[in-house]
């Protein structure tokens, strides 16, 4: 009897095991592997960049979670949510209907802070909490992660987010340059109010954004300076110190916002640059901030031309006097000339921030509310302009060319012309590259359309006639596997350039004798785009003088 009971008992246990396996799920707790890559700090001024996954290629996120299912179970409805107490309530990041064994989810978090984060005037350390759940997860199974990070005050600008150990170049140290455009606030009601007063009371009307004439833009730029000079705005420093936040060590600069520069009547170079850029932008002009080692200065671009002013020439009585508007503009011209030289030679320390271009990439201004007190301060500042005369044209032109070079070339606007060589009008938004191909020294400059296809090229060839010039160009082309076929009719040339990969570039141009040889200006586009751009090409061709 006993000999039958034992095997029966074993079989019974087996049956119980099989039966219960249908009711008792396998354990899946603690089987998710979670890795978090986080940002060390958040700048309130940049809140719109953090909220936009497409801004600056999604580079600025709060954290990125890598979740891998290490269990042997398929998890259903895996939900990831997060919160930042006092700032963002529980927010669902993703729901994955299923998560297979071994599968990985990668979830970047772009937090949408409330607009009032820009009222934050002190820094704080906050915690982000992450919760991962799935269908059937027990209380103990739910995964909770948290990490700390710093929220700076709204005025703080951290120059880089690259880890100290990763920094190898100048641009790594200033990796956040694009974010300076978030401190440019043309939509701030206070800045708008100031700009309107400037246009009406000091300038008695202006139309730079409508006429697109550089002289109108320069007049506006000079009048901003004049406004600051008349209101006795002075140069003054703010805190800018190296700070360490976890693995990141960076200069952290306190930047007074443009409204604070206006009402406080004082600013540092970067603050004055943001202030100028805000006013220029509010007036419809494309602002530029030039960043150079230890300094920044503002300007604008118009019709492919760049202009600058030395905003800090206001100095102050305590700093050795106040520069006149002409002195500030002259200094700006010198700065710009050095900038062009340095940046063309590839010095990465000389960079510019094109504010509107950055805005298009999602680096947009912070939200600021209207403020009656500040408006009254603006009224008081505007009153200080009374009795003064607005700055009038004519003005001196700024050089936008390489200095004292035998191959000197001017890339002028419609009013600035070289005296002895071909020049042409550059449409708005085109990019000028001096000496773009070192291997082709006769190629003095290229101006490229925003579509990056339509191109104007300027060649300076030390030969006696146009035929020799074209022959020389063809020799250079041949080393790149290209060949030009052309017709010469007086000083007009037209032709096609064939590449070894089969592509064809159509172009038209003009040639002229210059003291050192022949200069050729040619404009064209790939053949498949030529017809659609023909009107523009003809327009530029006809502007060659």
């Amino acid at each position: 009897m006993k000999s039958k009971l034992i095997p029966l008992a074993i079989a019974l246990v087996g049956i119980l095991c099989v039966a219960s396996s249908f009711f008792i799920p396998s354990s899946s707790s603690g089987e998710l592997e979670v890795a978090i890559e986080k940002s060390a700090f958040i700048m309130p001024a940049v809140h719109r960049v953090y909220a936009n996954p497409d801004a600056l290629n999604g580079k600025y996120y709060l954290f990125k979670a890598k979740i891998t299912n290490k269990s042997d179970q398929t998890l259903e409805d895996v939900t990831v949510k997060y919160r930042i107490p006092d700032y963002i309530d529980w927010t669902e990041l993703t729901v994955s209907g299923q998560m297979f064994p071994g599968q990985t989810l990668v979830i970047p978090c772009y937090p949408k802070f409330k607009d009032n984060i820009t009222e934050k005037t002190t820094e704080s350390f906050e915690k982000a909490q992450i919760e991962i759940t799935w269908d059937g997860a027990e209380e103990d199974d739910i995964i909770e992660e948290e990490f700390g990070f710093k929220i700076t005050n709204r005025n703080e600008y951290v120059y880089t987010g690259v880890k100290t150990e990763e920094i190898s170049t100048w641009s790594d140290m200033y990796d956040n340059d694009a974010l300076i455009s978030c401190f440019v606030t043309p939509n701030d009601p206070v800045v708008k109010y100031y700009t309107q007063n400037l246009q009406e009371k000091l300038m008695k009307g202006e139309a730079a954004s409508v006429s697109r004439k550089p002289e109108d833009g320069v007049r506006f730029l000079k009048n901003i300076y004049e406004a600051t000079r008349k209101s006795h705005m002075v140069y003054s420093g703010t805190k800018g110190i190296p700070q360490s936040t976890e693995d990141i060590q960076s200069i952290v600069q306190q930047i007074r916002l443009p409204r604070e520069v206006i009402t406080g009547n004082t600013g540092l170079c970067i603050e004055l640059s943001c202030f100028y850029a805000s006013v220029l932008s509010a007036a419809g002009i494309d602002p530029i901030i030039y960043m150079v080692p230890g300094h920044a200065y503002p300007g604008f671009k118009m019709n492919g031309q760049y202009y600058a002013i030395e905003a800090t020439a206001i100095n102050g009585e305590g700093l050795g006097g106040i520069g006149s508007v002409e002195e500030a503009f002259k200094k700006g011209a010198e700065n710009l000339q050095e900038f062009i030289q340095r940046s063309q030679s590839g010095d990465p320390r000389y960079s510019m921030v094109d504010i509107h271009a950055m805005n298009q990439q999602g680096a947009t201004a912070m939200d600021l509310k209207d403020n009656d007190f500040m408006r009254r301060k603006v009224d008081a500042i505007v009153a200080s302009w009374d009795g003064s005369q607005p700055v009038k044209e004519p003005i001196q032109k700024q050089p936008t060319r390489r200095p004292n070079n035998a191959n000197d070339i001017v890339i002028p606007d419609t009013t600035i012309k070289t005296t002895n060589a071909l020049s042409f009008a550059i449409p708005t938004g085109w990019q000028t590259m001096m000496r773009p191909v070192p291997q082709v020294p006769i190629l003095t400059a290229q101006v490229v359309a925003p579509d990056q296809m339509t191109t104007a090229s300027i060649y300076d060839i030390p030969v006696a006639n146009v035929h020799q010039a074209m022959s020389t160009i063809n020799q250079y082309f041949s080393s790149f596997g290209m060949q030009a076929q052309y017709q010469i009719n007086g000083n007009a040339i037209s032709g096609q350039t064939y590449s070894s990969d089969g592509s064809v570039f159509n172009w038209v141009g003009k040639a002229i004798s210059v003291p050192n040889g022949i200069r050729i200006v040619a404009i064209g586009a790939p053949d498949y785009m030529y017809n659609q751009n023909a009107a523009l090409i003809n327009q530029i061709y006809n502007s060659i003088r």
Binding site: S3, K4, P7, L8, A9, I10, A11, V13, G14, I15, L16, C17, V18, A19, S20, S21, S26, A35, P53, D54, N57, G58, K59, Y61, K64, K66, D72, Q73, T74, D77, T94, V95, S96, G97, Q98, F100, P101, G102, Q103, T104, L105, V106, P108, M433, V437, L443, Q446, V448, D451, Q452, M453, T455, F480, G481, M482, S499, D501, S503, F505, M529
Partner: protein, 206 residues
């Protein structure tokens, strides 16, 4: 959200291409496995001038290249980088693993974003698609040919558009591994042992 294709724009500097409006070609193979990760292989040849410029930036500095790739791919975790240069032929091959290239949505459908509006997708086989792209960032001077290969387990592969009008792949794929239920199999084993023992004893008349 940025997809893999965004990355490969950033690792190639085309100043010379712009200068001569000469088009360059890049081949990118993406082999998706049966848990949604992708093995990505990028290959490209350049002319002499492009090669010189590229070497000055990334070609001779693979660690900078790796960092740039990691930073320009916020939507992925990438690892297992392999980089091979062929100086004689001015070409390189880069491969890496991209985790989470495909995701499962709320309705348990696998989704892969192309991050491109009206992508011109060509079906090469049931599981292989080709996408030819000319990123606007380079004004048409860079042509990218993507070969996207889905695993054999993927079925009902369709192209669709997301809420932003960007083309996506949608497909179904079953769980690649069925979990082993130890309790059930132990139970079966015990039944067999107990049954055999009982049967043996019964036959022996014990």
């Amino acid at each position: 959200m940025k997809t893999i294709k965004t990355l490969f724009f950033s690792i190639f500097l085309l100043n010379v291409c712009l200068a001569f409006a000469q088009q360059s070609k890049q081949n990118i193979e993406m082999k998706v496995d049966n848990i949604g990760n992708a093995k990505v292989t990028v290959s490209m040849s350049m002319n002499a001038s492009q090669w010189q410029q590229w070497n000055a930036t990334f070609g001779n500095n693979p660690s900078a290249l790796k960092r740039e790739i990691e930073r320009s791919m916020p939507a992925f975790f990438v690892d297992d980088f392999k980089f091979e240069k062929d100086d004689m032929n001015r070409s390189f091959t880069l491969s890496l693993n991209a985790y989470g290239a495909c995701k499962i949505d709320k309705r348990s459908k696998w989704i892969m974003n192309t991050d491109q509006k009206d992508a011109q997708l060509t079906e090469l086989t049931n599981h292989k698609y080709m996408l030819v792209s000319s990123p606007p960032e380079y004004g048409g001077t860079l042509q990218q040919t993507f070969i996207i290969e889905f695993p054999e387990a993927a079925h009902d592969i369709k192209t669709n558009k997301d809420a932003y009008g960007k083309s996506t792949f949608e497909f179904k794929m079953d769980n690649p591994s069925t979990s082993i239920n130890y309790m059930r199999w132990s139970g079966f084993l015990l039944i067999v042992i107990g049954g055999s023992w009982f049967g043996k004893n019964a036959m022996n008349g014990k």
